[in-house]
Symmetry: D2
Subunit: 416 residues, 4 copies
Amino acid sequence: MNFELQPHTDAGHRFVTLAEEYASAFAASSEKHDRDNSFAAENIVALRKSGLAGATVPEELGGIGVERLVDYVAGINRLGRGDGATALAANMHIFLTWFVAREWRRARATEDRPRIAQWEEMLRDIAAGRTILSALATEPGHDLMHVVTEATRTTGGWLLKGRKGFATGSPAADVFVVACRHRNDNGEWRYSAAYVRADSQGVTNMHNWDALGMRGSGSHDVVLEDCPVANTDFFDVGPWGAYNEDFLAGNFAGTLGLVAVFLGIAEAARDITLKILQGRRATASRKAAIDRSAIHHIVAEIEIDLSASRAMVERTGTMMDAFFAAQSPTGNLPLQEMHEVMKDFQCTKWFVTRKAIETVDRALTLSGGAGYMSRNPLSRLYRDVRAGPFMQPFSPIEAFEYIGKVTLGVDPMVEL
Amino acid sequence: MNFELQPHTDAGHRFVTLAEEYASAFAASSEKHDRDNSFAAENIVALRKSGLAGATVPEELGGIGVERLVDYVAGINRLGRGDGATALAANMHIFLTWFVAREWRRARATEDRPRIAQWEEMLRDIAAGRTILSALATEPGHDLMHVVTEATRTTGGWLLKGRKGFATGSPAADVFVVACRHRNDNGEWRYSAAYVRADSQGVTNMHNWDALGMRGSGSHDVVLEDCPVANTDFFDVGPWGAYNEDFLAGNFAGTLGLVAVFLGIAEAARDITLKILQGRRATASRKAAIDRSAIHHIVAEIEIDLSASRAMVERTGTMMDAFFAAQSPTGNLPLQEMHEVMKDFQCTKWFVTRKAIETVDRALTLSGGAGYMSRNPLSRLYRDVRAGPFMQPFSPIEAFEYIGKVTLGVDPMVEL
Amino acid sequence: MNFELQPHTDAGHRFVTLAEEYASAFAASSEKHDRDNSFAAENIVALRKSGLAGATVPEELGGIGVERLVDYVAGINRLGRGDGATALAANMHIFLTWFVAREWRRARATEDRPRIAQWEEMLRDIAAGRTILSALATEPGHDLMHVVTEATRTTGGWLLKGRKGFATGSPAADVFVVACRHRNDNGEWRYSAAYVRADSQGVTNMHNWDALGMRGSGSHDVVLEDCPVANTDFFDVGPWGAYNEDFLAGNFAGTLGLVAVFLGIAEAARDITLKILQGRRATASRKAAIDRSAIHHIVAEIEIDLSASRAMVERTGTMMDAFFAAQSPTGNLPLQEMHEVMKDFQCTKWFVTRKAIETVDRALTLSGGAGYMSRNPLSRLYRDVRAGPFMQPFSPIEAFEYIGKVTLGVDPMVEL
Amino acid sequence: MNFELQPHTDAGHRFVTLAEEYASAFAASSEKHDRDNSFAAENIVALRKSGLAGATVPEELGGIGVERLVDYVAGINRLGRGDGATALAANMHIFLTWFVAREWRRARATEDRPRIAQWEEMLRDIAAGRTILSALATEPGHDLMHVVTEATRTTGGWLLKGRKGFATGSPAADVFVVACRHRNDNGEWRYSAAYVRADSQGVTNMHNWDALGMRGSGSHDVVLEDCPVANTDFFDVGPWGAYNEDFLAGNFAGTLGLVAVFLGIAEAARDITLKILQGRRATASRKAAIDRSAIHHIVAEIEIDLSASRAMVERTGTMMDAFFAAQSPTGNLPLQEMHEVMKDFQCTKWFVTRKAIETVDRALTLSGGAGYMSRNPLSRLYRDVRAGPFMQPFSPIEAFEYIGKVTLGVDPMVEL
């Protein structure tokens, strides 16, 4: 039997099959980009050409048609096995596409023709490989709900000003989705989102990403200096500094996708290690590796953690799908229930990203020193996988507070 | 949303609903049986009368009709929340019934009329509350595949001789399913199973169960001294000392049910503790419990482990159901694939029973000493939950060896 | 080599030798007191007669003369191996004696003749086995620095009123040391200590201890109802609700002694288990226990934790001794430095009591079910050892907050 | 109070003081050597000039005079805080020197004049900074007791042939100590040690070290191709493939020194992180870092692990010192007792190197992403610290087997 993450629909199967096909190619160039600290640009080209970039574009608009998150994570997981850095960039784009497709469905439900047209154009461009999306969300020193990149109103639109970090995939992005804030007519801060072309005036990619791992992900800083945005590309999302529906809904998909990437890295480390162990024959002083009980013990620890991780990712995806399926396509999302889903998801996120780190660590132990050498891919996976817990939302520190508060019925927004 | 284990079919829903109804009654008498070290006989009477004892009897034979394991575990889980000791006894009976129902289906597929009649009678008796089953499997010093209780051939049948331990639910059992061995015509040891009425000649219940926890489970020793068995109640199962299909298939259901019991205990401890915490108001020197971040941290640890545990139990149940659904009703089961399913299940078993222990331990910590008092149910749950890892197959020591071997492609039967 | 806790002085050697002698006798009656929930009164008689009760009485006053904490913990540790409940009661008395001896030394340094005489009388009584001390400190719902047992001034003395819990050893106590509060002349709450004879008017032992473990420790509630105290037996200790020197100094000794008890329990569990394993011979289906690598693994985990625990207890004892040795016998103790010592100690306390629990748990696992039976001492140790983290100061919840605050330079008294 | 590792003698104090002085200089160039994968040659020059290279040379021969291991580890620990790679190279040299000094003392006890002269010359050269030692021990695929580098007898000496890995500090070494094997007159394999000048004929340094971390340590492969050794520089140590006294004695010092290095790395990570946290002020959405309880929790986990680690290193050093002090200077060392010491030490090694990894991991978590950037030293420490468990003897896999066997009284040499 196959205990891997499995897609539940045909669209999911198509996504997974394609992702598996490209993952091995991505794996081949991982070492080079890691060593050179260079962006894996050719992999993004492959995403455009292969149709993978349109994974979450509806079929009628030319995409693969993945809508359910349980399918989404199965495909992203396969990309993560190939190359973590590319998978991060791909996930950034594919989850934003998923969100746009969701907006398109809502527009159709409310028969909002201008929006339908706007989203259809974007989704067709994505399916055709013409548009890659990237999010400009994170800002150093501010959490995601307290961004200070500012939008100020001008004639016919807005101007953006701020500095963003961790813009994964940014070197290949055609359009940035920018999290910002603006004041409404009452002078209150509002949370807003703006779609900005990467070649717009005032957008500067700093090309300064240099980190322990995920070196090929192009997670540069991007500076916005009076960058213009049309009114139709600007959206008021909710009150600034508070949870809102879109924030949670978007992060369900995007961050669960990230979790699936780190599971994929752990699975790759496991597979590499089993191959090493199976190749170690008996010597005068030693049994073959596969006959040593002390090795069985550590292998079992890996299997237990991977088994738990897969179960959690699949269950969280299924739960999120059930949550969305239960909502009216035109109504608001229930915030309290979203916190419950988010709480469950945060359990999954912390557990899986943590266990992925432990799995790669155990793989190193089993490798007996071989994995510590730069030429061994485990030495890269050990660095890549450590990025997992930092992915927002939430960091481990915040996650424990959040899970505890929601469980005990305390407002998660209140700082105690 | 509800993140508990959920049934997937109507039969499952009926089982869960009924189990929830009775669980609270069972909980009420837990303390007494624990204190007195007495068997919870009245709970087994309730199982008979309520129809719960027929949970896995097919509907057309008068039962609830649960066939899928994912439903099975959801119902057993609810019993575990009420009273662990009763849930163990109930699971012993319900899994044996599930196995008999499986045999009935196989007999129908092969049109084996005598067997169809034999199993139908038993299943109807079970559904009507007339027959409770219990297994006589464990023997001190021997693992489950190397039992030494011996069947010797006599005119028209067999005589059993041996001593069994951990006969959970035995005081209420009407029929024992005895794991034993016999020699075939070539003088080779074979693994065998015999159905024996509890009031048969030569069957002595030692009524000697006295343990740290699960005190109401009646897990006594039972001695068999020249106990007669008819040929029709005696089954050759496979070679002695080796894995066989029935052994694995039966344990999939039975042991996964046990795992669901321990998950239920952990859930009960969590619920008791949240109630305690929510009742602790602020004092001059202390914030309210629910406002303390150090408490959030431990609550979050509980939530993470319960979330992972539920996901694993559900996924393993689903996988087992898929495995059985893929088999021909008349053919043999594929042993190698069963080891893979068993490996995945052992990951679940170890993880969930271990995390259940840790959850009750954390509940004690959160209780701040209150849970250490005998009058607090946590002090019982702490003892009950520790039984989890001992449940066979496998103990933690064996499980790590088994998981490691199967993963590395080493025969799990070979002692290295 | 002997890796156990070792005494560093002759007095320490005498204490350890005597403790080892009596520990085995105490072990013999553990099961009975545990089963009957009865106080191990005969063990306290043995402490009186053997001279063990005078462990920390200076030699010139008839005692064994243990002054250094590194010696203290070595002796208490041996008692813990014999019987945890008796060791708790013994530690309660021996640490209070240590504290009185310290007061006696300070009185001599300041030539405070009345106090010298008062303490000498008490210490001689203790050495002669006439006086056993017990502390009335804990109150449900209040931490140790916020006790609400109240002393009100009367002519020539004070009246005490309050209810105390966890009065370990109280059935045998001759004198209680009561933590209470009173108002000074400015109406401010002060923290105070009173010495009260157990047979005083207004003192009622509720004889209501009934817990998961440590059942022979007599940790009853004691009610004080207008209990009179002479002025000479009443001490103003410092501001109420704040850390003070005596509180920290006393707890250094007393709580470190408790930690040594739980280490002793873990060591006992380890020894029992090794004996079980060494007795398990090979069978047809199994290697001998000592030849199984999966068993080596768990044994190694026990050894690692015990090794770390012993090292921590010894180092903390040595550090505390160095701290006290560096102080002027007449001056105040430096509170900030005491917090640093306390922080280090809390690391030890949490680690050792936690690892003791894990060690007994692993012993149960290694026992393979045998330890779960009531007749096996592991089933008692599993319950006794769980008391460790509850010992004050601090609970695990408080300890993490305290250690974090002191490390980061935040006032540990401030609730954040 | 100071809870760091403290020296116990004057020589130890001198070593620690000097090590602290140089550690900060070493820290300054760490980033460069890590980035360039270059050997920190200038640090070895500093060791020669400063006298640190003579740490374990007896005072009468011009050295610092450290003999006790508890002093040794305190000094090496400080070097580890500065730069792990340099500390590894320094430890390689200083432990070999310690071993030579031990041989010198034994030669003096037995009045073996030629050896006294030989060792004195070497020790004076070391003290004067003229000689740096490095060991050629490890061989891929063979454990330390089964090396296959072969010495064959020639007229007046030996020829060495083999390939060694992990020759830490080799670019600066003047003399290599080579672990090899030879046949004795009966044709039996014997374990042997040879002293070889680095510039000897047949010695080729492959300069091929390229690893995840410890990049400045110069741990290259060295190939020996018919490299000549004089008889006086060649030592028969014991039977090949078996434990022997010199092997254990040498590794006591050398590997405990390594452990102290990894403790130093963890301490450095902790200090960097506290500084980061103390600098993080409150914002609109966030308390200051030092006021957040979730941060206290992780800080406390670090403190607990460091506290345990320091206690274990100090206790193991003290135990080893006591072991050596109890031996006759001319007699053999008791092998069984050495296994007990080794077992205790392996507990320390596994625990401390493991907790060092966890500490740096927690430091990364506390850094909130900042530590993941290449410019932050935590990103280097995360890679350096992972080398710890690989240090021989033993790897984690072997250590658990070894500890388990010795504890259970099974011969640690026997493969089960």
